[in-house]
Amino acid sequence: MFQFESINDFIQMGGHGYYVWSAYLISLSVLIWLVASPLQRKRKFVQEMIRQQRREMARQETSNT
């Protein structure tokens, strides 16, 4: 069963609120970054590749005409 009398008690954590919540929030942000970083790098990579492919196609068209 829920260990706290109220939401306020839950946030206070019996006086240890600052410790518990800072630990959890720091960890959460850092773990989110661990997943977000590769996803963002992949998106940048795909964008850069598409740009290169378009340049290649344009170059081929001008050399064909």
């Binding site: 069963m1 829920f2 260990q3 706290f4 839950f10 954590m13 019996g14 006086g15 240890h16 410790y19 518990v20 800072s22 630990a23 959890y24 720091i26 960890s27 850092v30 773990l31 970054w33 661990l34 997943v35 970083s37 590769p38 996803l39 790098r41 992949k42 998106r43 990579f45 795909v46 964008q47 590749m49 598409i50 492919q53």
Partner: protein, 247 residues
């Protein structure tokens, strides 16, 4: 059997196979972590001596486990790349390094925050904590070596050697609480005996450990996939893949 091993070494095969597993692993990780956090924060009984600060354990212990296990992943991947010249293994080693570094950081920071109300100090140079700091430096060293060479092969070799040399630190960390007088308490989770923790406190911890393992797998796969795309960018299959997905 060797055929399987060689197929395993194909970056393209890994990219396609991991793509199928990724959604399921991600969902599993998310569920386990959400359930574990809610359970640990709100429903596990508080500790008789430490009160509610003990709830930090639900992040601190899983992160520490994975920091150690992740080092083995990195070192073994390095060894395989060194011995069999498997490029994919080098890529896994490169991907494992920042993940392990971050998890070690999380273990140290949550441990420090937990230490303040429990021991009265954020930091102490005891055996367990100091050897974990050394682990962080080893991870950072492997990452730094990746950027120190113009040749990717040379970088992989150097990183693999450092990873393997540093492997001795893992049993030291593990046994530090037994070999030295430490402020950090001895292991509660043992292989041969029941845990010295009340089951109501232990069960959410187990969920979080499993969740962190799944999360680690997801992070490792995501990072390796990006590394594969980058290194194989001149191949036909990557060019086709990119052309097929405008974004």
């Amino acid at each position: 059997m060797w055929q399987w091993f060689h197929r395993l070494g194909s970056p393209r095969w890994f990219y396609q196979a991991s793509g199928k597993w990724l959604p399921w692993l991600s969902i599993l990780a998310a569920i386990l972590l959400c359930v574990g956090v809610v359970w640990g924060l709100g429903f596990a009984p508080q500790d008789a001596k430490q009160g509610n600060s003990f709830r930090i354990i639900y992040i601190h212990v899983p992160a520490s486990f994975l920091a150690l296990a992740g080092y083995y992943v990195m070192a073994i991947a390095g060894a395989v790349g060194l011995i069999w010249k498997m490029k994919l293994s080098d890529m896994v080693m490169k991907s494992a390094a920042p993940i392990g570094a971050v998890l070690t950081f999380v273990a140290l920071v949550t441990g420090a925050i937990w230490g303040k109300p429990t021991w009265g100090t954020y930091w102490i140079w005891d055996a367990r904590i100091t050897s974990m700091l050394v682990l962080l430096f080893l991870y950072l060293g492997v990452i730094a070596l990746q950027y120190s060479y113009t040749s990717q092969d040379a970088a992989s070799k150097a990183s693999a050697v450092l990873s393997l040399v540093g492997m001795v630190n893992i049993p030291i960390i593990y046994k530090s609480v037994d070999w030295w007088y430490t402020l950090h308490q001895p292991a509660t989770i043992k292989f041969t005996e029941a845990p010295s923790m009340h089951p109501d406190m232990f069960r959410p911890l187990l969920v979080m450990i499993l969740g962190f393992y799944c999360f680690y797998a997801v992070a490792l796969i995501l990072n390796t996939r990006v590394e594969i795309l980058h290194r194989e960018r001149r191949t036909r299959w990557v060019q086709d893949l990119v052309a097929g997905k405008p974004s």
